[in-house]
Symmetry: D2
Subunit: 241 residues, 4 copies
């Protein structure tokens, strides 16, 4: 059983003036939890800014195999200490999936060490997402490409360390391109970033996006877990020449 924790800042969806409130009446985290809990080998729970104090703790992260992270307008309201706990849990082996505007979230930026910057525009572009690494388990079941009728436009340059693997590259009608699906290994943890998922589009109901997310949960789930990755051991001398 893969134990998933879904973090969502959960602000747009509570704003009656924002389309997100209609599209995701139970929040983006709710939609993702419903998706993941429909898989037999996955067990998902959620946490939002409202209950982050008790919902993200060292103990809970130790019992979490994979974290999903969605944040946008309130990255700053995530306490540094919570970001540090998530960061360290990933280095010890917890898998992590960062969604859409989480590219500027504290845990992602800590893991990347770069600006995580990009260009962006809300202009209702269609996005065509190409599979650039067809062999990868995360893209299992997809065609060569799929399309999203509308998405926020993200564009290069994307300020990330060279990904271990670039799985998806997005094409937008407005003229932009973007590395839309990327993986990194950081110490014992696997990381996946997925670009689509703006709050005003029903992206997380798209069947291709759902396939990717379920595949990704399985792929980043740890096969090895440590507790002391931050330590620097001081072993005795072995060879006495």
């Amino acid at each position: 059983m893969i134990r998933v924790l879904i973090f969502n800042e959960y602000l747009h969806e509570k704003d009656p003036g924002c389309k997100a409130s209609e599209i995701y009446p139970n929040g983006i985290h709710g939609a993702l939890a419903e998706l993941l809990n429909s898989e037999e080998d996955i067990e998902a729970r959620t946490v939002t800014l409202d209950d982050i104090e008790t919902g993200i703790t060292e103990k809970i992260l130790k019992e979490t195999d994979v974290i999903l992270w969605w944040g946008h307008m309130a990255h700053d309201r995530v306490p540094d200490e919570k970001a540090r706990l998530v960061h360290e849990a990933v280095l010890n082996g917890m898998g992590a999936i960062f969604l859409h505007s989480a590219h500027k979230s504290k845990p992602f930026m800590r893991l990347m060490g770069t600006s995580c910057s990009l260009i962006w525009r809300e202009s209702d572009d269609l996005e065509r997402v190409w599979v650039s690494a067809p062999y990868h388990p995360i893209v299992r079941g997809l065609d060569n490409y799929f399309e999203l009728k509308g998405e926020e436009t993200y564009g290069e340059p994307f300020g990330i360390p060279t990904p271990d693997e670039t799985l998806l590259i997005g094409w937008f009608t407005g003229g932009e391109v973007f590395r839309s699906g990327c993986t990194w290994q950081r110490d014992n943890g696997k990381i996946f970033y997925l670009q689509p998922g703006h709050e005003t589009y029903p992206t997380y109901y798209d069947r291709n996006i759902r396939k990717i997310i379920v595949n990704a949960v399985r792929w980043v789930a740890p096969t090895f877990r440590s507790t002391d990755v931050m330590d620097c051991p001081n072993p005795p001398k072995a060879h006495k020449f």
Copy 2:
């Protein structure tokens, strides 16, 4: 002219009970500054924990092409804000060279995003340093390998993101191996980590180490510099299909 700033915490060398005080009477930063200032195209100044408040500022970093960093027992005494300034300057293009125990310094850890952990031992091992990337400008002028009569032992696993290039691999008589010279690109900045340089050995007087450091200063020096790498521009739509 390459403008270099050398940071050294400068504690060991002021402790009369520590060998470092004899080996580096003017501090490690003093020895490095003397070396670099003897090169016609390099101009080096120094900063220590004592004057970090005025010696590392946004203005000074903008006028710095390359920073060298040596720290060991007082990483925590470097203010977070100073680490942030250095981090951001590197992402905007400033080159950075991290020396020896700076693997656990705040700016290096921020740039890597990993544990930066390793195993270590002070047992007077001889280190043989192998050149694993003979083509690289940083190892220009070296033989296939060189030896340091004594060094602190560092060993794998080294908790770093896969380096762009692994230039040096160290072999220790005690039985350890270590990726002793590594490079990374992070946004617009070039980074080099060099393992040898324990304060109780005259490593920074070794002619091979000196060659590496001078070569590295030239190699990480920026050819491109930005000021706004952290921003996410919001350009208008170009193609209106």
Copy 3:
């Protein structure tokens, strides 16, 4: 002085029925030689399928710093032995730039070790080329992106080893994306692949493409050159514990 050798199969341009004969009356190699010879630090000569026997030899390659390669319909007519010589010269340090359909040329495929496959279409798409690594010397002087009014469409997946750096990503009106500028280090040699350059478009007269090619010649030019990279030395034992 950087000594450049430009290989072009030179078939399309000799076919009066092909647009290439009008666009490149002196051949693509002629246009590239004119461009490069207008730079003070570059000295370019050319070779085609007609004189490959005497124009690509071990001696000539030793006196060549950078090779440019354009081929399309006659990759098979390049003798294996010539491909081997070029391959080995690159491993010994000669820089190499592969242009457009040279993705399926013998020397490129030998260097990559992969399929080098892609999807393609001739449908007069406009291509917008994005700079994804703004810090890199090869893209010096370019804006965030530039456009080519017409180009052959190339699309992902591109069957290459993960590039060391992806400098350019192409966007096509037809809906495709492509990693249009990529670098690799192979032993002592630097390699650059550049996608635009179909024979029926005046791509090699475009000022941005010309900048890229001149920059790339300087960037892949060797700073280190060996003669025996294929050998496996058998040194005596150094440490006798």
Copy 4:
């Protein structure tokens, strides 16, 4: 069931004057087949230079999930066409494990595109093999390091493309270091290189080496298989702006 094909040139073991004949009376391939066939999920068969003509065919490779390759003195006797078939099968998704002196085998060199050179010496060094990527499934069950009482010495520089992951780094009493376990993705195929395994030492009976080989078979086994990776599809235009 993972279908494995073990290729061994099988020459040293048939030479009564060579220690290999005592250590591996049924050949290295025999020892490896026995090991792998003792695993419930693996089914291994073997092929040597004697029956390579019928033992390595397009049909057989299509029915092979993972190939293991051991060769040393007779790389040249492997027909180019057989090397090509193996190369292409890997690009289409077949996993491949190259053992010890197979670093200069035709299929490995084709996949790498580099010199695959190294330094070497037969001087009965002890090798200590360090795990540099403890999270990786291939090193599951190993301690931080293990030792081999005697091995042929291999040393850096190793002329390979930067590995996707460097799992093992070897330390030799003679003073050398070596990237002893490396992985690469090439199109749809996973590749693992493992350095220990000289014919005059009982390396393939070592319990750690055996763990690595069994783990590696499972890790390189394909999750995706294509048949046409060398093709360049020519799809119609999708978007007509």
